[in-house]
């Protein structure tokens, strides 16, 4: 087993463009970094050296893109073995993936929506179990943003919780995705979060998005986090307690100082909620 470093506090999704700066010094205030293993596995040269320098100093977690956990193509066990090796090499605490699919016999390199059906629950949960068997550790599955559902026999919340329960895996709660989906599919975001199994939430994602002319929200990770999503994060902490939380920014990436404002805002919300819980504890005692 790897000697992984547990994560806490506020983190940031590491892009290759940030690595050249972060390998010199990771900015104060970043407690952990997240990488997509499929962007780094098998790389040598400059990128590999940068990542090694970073992971020696800052805890790393992995967020996969290509496993296609609910997809029709056979499970790519070579990829899982390679991820296990990467996890050991960089002492990674967590491996998360998306509750979606991305391979129909060929890779599509994007996240497609699963139908919310019992068949999809059982099939996906079975594959998650197989991955966990190979890895020797729990997977963390993310609630994805989606623009339509190929079939809806269950609600989204029922689907997500059924998979988590049957697979006995953890949840990466993407609060921005909850907000995006609540607008695109007209539901109450806090009501959704209340249905999620709090004890299974390993960590949280925050991100910005883009609103189209007709009001549909596209989950771009290309803008600042909006206020309603910050409020939803605070409400989530109130419900579940403070969880490790990271900012994803994949497009229109601003300067690090600008990004750090949002990472620090995560910490501010965490400290505020910790204080509230501490005070409540004193009152109760």
């Amino acid at each position: 087993m790897s000697q992984s470093k547990p994560i806490h506090g506020a983190g940031l999704g590491l892009r290759r463009t940030m690595a050249s700066e972060f390998c010199e010094a990771v900015p104060d205030g970043i407690d952990f970094l997240e990488v997509a293993p499929e962007n780094w596995i098998g790389l040598g040269g400059k990128f590999a050296k940068q990542l090694r320098a970073i992971s020696e100093r800052t805890p790393l977690i992995t967020h996969g893109l290509s496993l296609s956990i609910g997809g029709p193509a056979p499970l790519d066990e070579d990829l899982i073995v390679a991820i296990k090796k990467f996890i050991d090499q960089h002492q990674v605490a967590l491996y998360s993936e998306h509750l979606s699919y991305s391979n129909d016999g060929g890779q599509l390199y994007d996240l497609l929506p699963l139908p919310f059906t019992d068949e999809a629950v059982h099939y996906t949960a079975g594959r998650i179990k197989r991955v966990q068997e190979i890895l020797g550790q729990r997977m963390v599955l993310e609630n994805v943003s989606y623009y339509l559902t190929p079939k809806r026999a269950l609600s989204e919340a029922e689907f997500v919780t059924a998979v988590i329960q049957e697979a006995d895996c953890d949840l990466l709660l993407d609060v921005n995705n909850v907000y995006v989906n609540s607008v695109n599919h007209d539901y109450d975001p806090l009501g959704f979060i209340k249905q999620m199994p709090a004890e299974r939430v390993a960590y949280i994602h925050m991100a910005g998005h883009y609103v189209e002319d007709d009001g549909i929200i596209i989950d771009t990770h290309g803008a600042d986090v909006i206020d309603p999503v910050w409020q939803l994060l605070e409400q989530t902490y109130t419900l579940m307690g403070v969880k490790p939380t990271l900012l994803e920014r994949d497009f229109n990436i601003p300067k690090v100082e600008q990004l750090m404002l949002e990472v620090n805002q995560i910490r501010t919300v965490q400290e505020k909620l910790n204080r509230v819980r501490h005070d409540a504890h004193i009152v109760a005692a």
């Binding site: 997509a36 790389l43 990128f47 890779q107 623009y147 596209i218």
Partner: protein, 253 residues
């Protein structure tokens, strides 16, 4: 029972297949029944732009030589006709090169496209390679006396076009071109323009697990009726240049 693949009569399989067949080829395959065309359009547009931007990052010169329409139609053809298997994003460059090789001779494809694609792919391969350069150069004595081989991070290549000079606003005429492409000590990828004879020597060093370079040069001078002394001196000077970049190692250690 743990089910990790789907039976042929699976509803899930049918829903997913209908979904992705439309996404790969939205102009020819209709939107699956019951699904909102506006929202399917979001997916087909997101997925296409994602692939297009990934591939253009790997082949920036090729992208810059094409109009938007030409590029879009090439990427669309890739997406419809080619099943990319790699889960690793940097390896998508390999898949795109394989796709281009498979459509060799296709209409409207300029002759320089394949050599240029190979050159851009090779630059990326060297930049990302897990190999490392030897820690030190070969000592001058061994350069003369030992069998020498090329490091994995130096690759001699021959093209029909001067691919290294092609720019978005300037395509060179056909002309035999020999390069030694390599990753340097600072992990940057560079090239030396070389002559056909140097290409022959470097290829021999690479393919034969090492070559006794001074013997090779003497034989070649003989074969070409050249003065052995000056020919060999020229060849060894070239070796010293490559050696100073740590591109050479002794084959027998």
């Amino acid at each position: 029972m743990m089910l990790t693949s789907l039976p042929p009569d699976s509803e899930l399989l049918r829903l997913q297949t209908n979904f992705t067949q439309h996404l790969r080829n939205p102009d020819s395959v209709p939107v699956p029944e019951g699904l909102d065309p506006r929202r399917m359009g979001i997916y087909s547009s997101l997925i296409f732009h994602n692939i297009s931007s990934l591939v253009s990052d790997f082949f920036p010169v090729i992208r810059s030589l094409m109009t938007d329409d030409e590029w879009d139609s090439l990427v669309r053809e890739f997406f419809i006709t080619y099943q990319a298997e790699t889960p690793y994003f940097p390896k998508l460059a390999d898949e795109f090169l394989q796709f281009l090789l498979g459509r060799e001779g296709a209409n409207h494809t300029p002759d320089y496209l394949l050599p240029l694609a190979h050159y851009e792919w090779l630059e990326l391969c060297l930049f990302l390679s897990e190999s490392e350069l030897p820690g030190s150069p070969v000592d001058p004595e061994s350069l003369q006396s030992k069998r020498l081989e090329l490091t994995d991070l130096a690759i001699p290549v021959a093209y029909d076009y001067p691919v290294h000079q092609i720019r978005s606003d300037w395509v060179e005429n056909e002309c035999p071109t020999y390069l030694l492409l390599f990753r340097d000590k600072t992990d940057s990828v560079r090239f030396f323009e070389i002559q056909s004879l140097a290409f022959e020597l470097l290829t021999a060093m690479r393919d034969n697990n090492g070559v006794h370079v001074s013997d090779w040069l003497a034989n070649k001078a003989d074969e070409l009726n050249q003065n052995v002394g000056s020919f060999s001196a020229f060849g060894m000077k070239l070796m010293q240049q490559f050696n100073s970049e740590h591109l050479i190692s002794c084959a027998d250690t």
